[in-house]
Amino acid sequence: MTQTLGAHAAGATPAGPPVLDVAGLRKVFNVGRPDERMAIDDVTFDVVKGEFVCIVGPSGAGKTTLLRCISGLSAPTRGTVQFEGTALTEVPDQLGVVFQDYGRSLFPWFTNGSNIALPLKARGVGREERTKRVNEVLTEVGLGHVEKQYPWQLSGGMQQRVAIARTLSYKPDLLLMDEPFASVDAQTRFDLEDLILEVREEAGITVVLVTHDIDEAIYLSDRIVVLSGSPSKVREIVTVPLGRDRDQVATRSSEEFLELRRHLLSLVMPH
């Protein structure tokens, strides 16, 4: 059922110990109560350094639950999650999470600059270094000087850039993203997809992104973990042999892309 074999050969990802190792993960809500509900049955996959892995699945497949479990926000009922070789008990220092809805994850009572500086403050970084880092990371996500404005004064796409900048500010090893582009319009979505590919290339960061959009998953990933409907299992792990250089027009219209798309659709669509 889980075909991790040979997957690492894909792309130019260097072999090494996995950054993230998920084994036999199960999540059951309200254990022992009448409303007991199994969201995730059995999920196993790993992510090596520098890799870009997308998790796709039909609506209600427990994708967000899975992300909460692998980020340490929620404890699995069974199975293990290891981050850089250590079992998760809390959110690790070197892990960054970008949530779906910037309107809910950004703090409207702080300016963009303060929002971005928050994780640095929590890590005891000095004021001068914080200011410097805020400017760096704003440039990195393609925003100018918006640090004195509030998030709600920016457009949706810019707000999600601020949210991404906040997560990048402390240079995490692994970036977990929960449908980060679901709340923006199509054009902005393409821009943000390319931004995250660029960031990944420049910062050498490892990315795990949850999405329900198959095209997005193929466009971004080195590998795709396809989940079944609830309670979710891994249906297949698909390697995406499209290389590192991706282009919104050329990549998406290539023969390989369309072939992968057909395959993934047949996996995700109910038969």
């Binding site: 969201a39 609506s59 209600g60 497949a61 427990g62 994708k63 967000t64 639950t65 909460r68 980020s71 926000l73 809390e90 959110v91 220092d93 892990l95 960054g96 999470v97 949530f99 779906q100 809805d101 910037y102 309107g103 809910r104 994850s105 703090f107 409207p108 009572w109 702080f110 928050l118 994780p119 403050k121 929590a122 890590r123 004195k148 404005q149 509030y150 709600w152 004064q153 457009s155 949706g156 796409g157 707000q159 906040r166 449908e179 679901a182 709340s183 923006v184 319009d185 329900h212």
Partner: protein, 313 residues
């Protein structure tokens, strides 16, 4: 598991009609009609054009707020001008008395004890309320256990406790402050609790993902997140405090503005009584304005984000 697009992508920066947080009067003294309007919110980015539009808006809002009080005052002035009723003296006479008694005379010394009781009671009660609300938010067991009692005390008319307060604290200042504090506690407490319970879980997830300490979560998430509703609670507390300040001075007291009004009535100095009521309502209005002004200063982000309409927290 939300796969649906829930985000509102209201991109623009709205020209910024400030949130219309209208409010009733100060809750005391119906002699002067008071209308409290919103103080314009502070827009952080203001281009010259928008600033001009903001000024126009402000001017219009001011006119909207003032026309009724002005009409009522003018009406009162002329309708009462020839009044011979001892109970409803002409407004001109009342204002003359305000000038003689409160501005030139030494009736203003009655204000200090009143304001002292009010300040101590309001601040003490508010602190108790906010701390209590936070505690009940943090400890669901305590919340469920005390819920009936809290609501019982909340609906209990505080003035009814005055005799009990006298029995407990004697006739001094302590029972006045205690009564005001008691009344001020509940609106602050219930609003704090509601405000903290209303904070989006994603905000707490975000805080955990950013490795916030507990203290930082309180100062950077819980307090600012609940602050709009805490402010609403404190405002209600302020109004209750003003009422209780007057009430407590009307029974077994020897100083304060409430005592002044009641004493004037008992010696049939009706004009003087009216002057006290006018001063009291002006005081209430000023305090309310002061509160709204401070609130808009401190919660500029809240009124700004509401004007834009993107914040869903």
């Amino acid at each position: 598991m939300t796969t649906a697009t829930t985000g509102s992508t209201a991109a623009g920066r709205d020209g910024g009609s400030p949130g219309s947080a209208s409010a009733g009067g100060a809750g005391v003294g119906d002699a002067v009609a008071v209308a409290v309007t919103d103080v314009p919110s502070t827009q952080v980015t203001a281009t010259p054009g928008r600033r001009a539009a903001g000024r126009r808006n402000r001017g219009r809002n001011l006119l909207l707020a003032l026309w009724l009080p002005v009409v009522l005052l003018v009406g009162w002035w002329f309708l009462s001008a020839n009044s011979t009723s001892p109970y409803f003296p002409p407004l001109q006479v009342i204002l003359q008395s305000v000038w003689d008694e409160w501005v030139i005379g030494d009736a203003k010394t009655q204000l200090w004890p009143s304001l002292r009781h009010l300040a101590l009671g309001f601040i003490g009660g508010s602190l108790l309320g906010v701390l209590g609300g936070a505690l009940l938010w943090r400890l669901p067991v305590l919340r469920k256990g005390t819920n009936p009692i809290v609501y019982f005390l909340y609906v209990l008319p505080a003035p009814a406790l005055l005799p009990a307060m006298i029995a407990l604290f004697g006739l001094g200042e302590a029972r006045q402050v205690a009564l005001i504090a008691f009344g001020a506690t509940w609106p602050a407490l219930l609003n704090t609790l509601d405000g903290m319970r209303g904070i989006d879980q994603v905000k707490f997830d975000t805080a955990r993902a950013m490795k916030f300490s507990s203290l930082r979560t309180v100062t950077a998430v819980v307090l600012p997140g609940a602050s709009p509703q805490i402010a609403a609670g404190l405002r209600a507390s302020l109004q209750v405090s003003i009422i209780l300040m007057v009430v407590s001075e009307m029974i077994a007291a020897s100083e304060g503005i409430g005592y002044f009004i009641l004493y004037a009535q008992t010696v049939f100095a009706i004009v003087t009584m009216w002057s006290g009521i006018v001063v009291l309502s002006v005081l209430g209005t000023l305090l309310n304005y002061l509160f709204v002004f401070a609130e808009h200063r401190l919660l500029g982000w809240y009124h700004g984000s509401r004007a834009v309409g993107t914040d869903k927290a």
